[in-house]
Amino acid sequence: MKVSVQSGDFDLGAECAAIGRGRTDIGALASFVGLVRDASDGAGISRMTLEHYPGMTEKSLAEIVEQARGRWDVLDATVIHRIGELKPGDNIVLVVVASAHRGDAFAACEFIMDFLKTRAPFWKKEETSEGGRWVDARESDDVAAEKWKD
């Protein structure tokens, strides 16, 4: 399991290769990459700053991964979240889950993203033509996290 909070970019292909290296028991690799979009709620975005809570962020991501391991057959997982200044088209977050079967890989990957969106202490500030604004939490993200309740 690997969790990283970093300002530098990541490489999806390299992260998947690292997970699969030297083993042949993985049947399914589900992955997700979130990127900075050029527009949000109708306003053009020129830049984005990602603030976080140092110390708590990596711990909360590791806990979310542990929860996923407790629910599904997860052979390995990698979560990387970037912080600092980003621009449209840049990568923000990566989640890769390796499993023997695709159902587990898909579910664990989506679960990690849904929980990261509502539990991990990151905050986005967008720079638009009308100035900077903190992104509002979306109710749809709470709904997405709720769907995993037992």
Partner: protein, 83 residues
């Protein structure tokens, strides 16, 4: 002492990212600390007005009835928006 951290829009509204506070007498949980801070008035009213305010105690998400003790690290922040 309590270490209190503020993040994102709340950090900007309060114009500070952290403070050290001697454990106030009569404060036993997060909600009581929150009320104590809001009662400072002025910019601190922002802490009372933040929609869906979230908090953490010792870097774990915590509800307003979470107990507090001397030496804890407390954080207040708006709902998270990463990912």
């Amino acid at each position: 002492m309590l270490k209190i951290l503020y993040f994102a829009g709340l950090r900007e509204a309060l114009d500070r990212s952290s403070e050290q506070l001697a454990m106030p007498s009569g404060i036993g949980n997060l909600g009581q600390l929150h009320a104590h801070l809001v009662a400072r008035g002025g910019v601190w009213e922002a802490l009372g007005k933040t929609k869906n305010l979230r908090a953490a105690v010792n870097q774990e998400m915590a509800a307003m009835d979470a107990p507090l003790k001397d030496g804890d690290e407390v954080a207040f922040f708006p709902p998270v928006t990463g990912g």
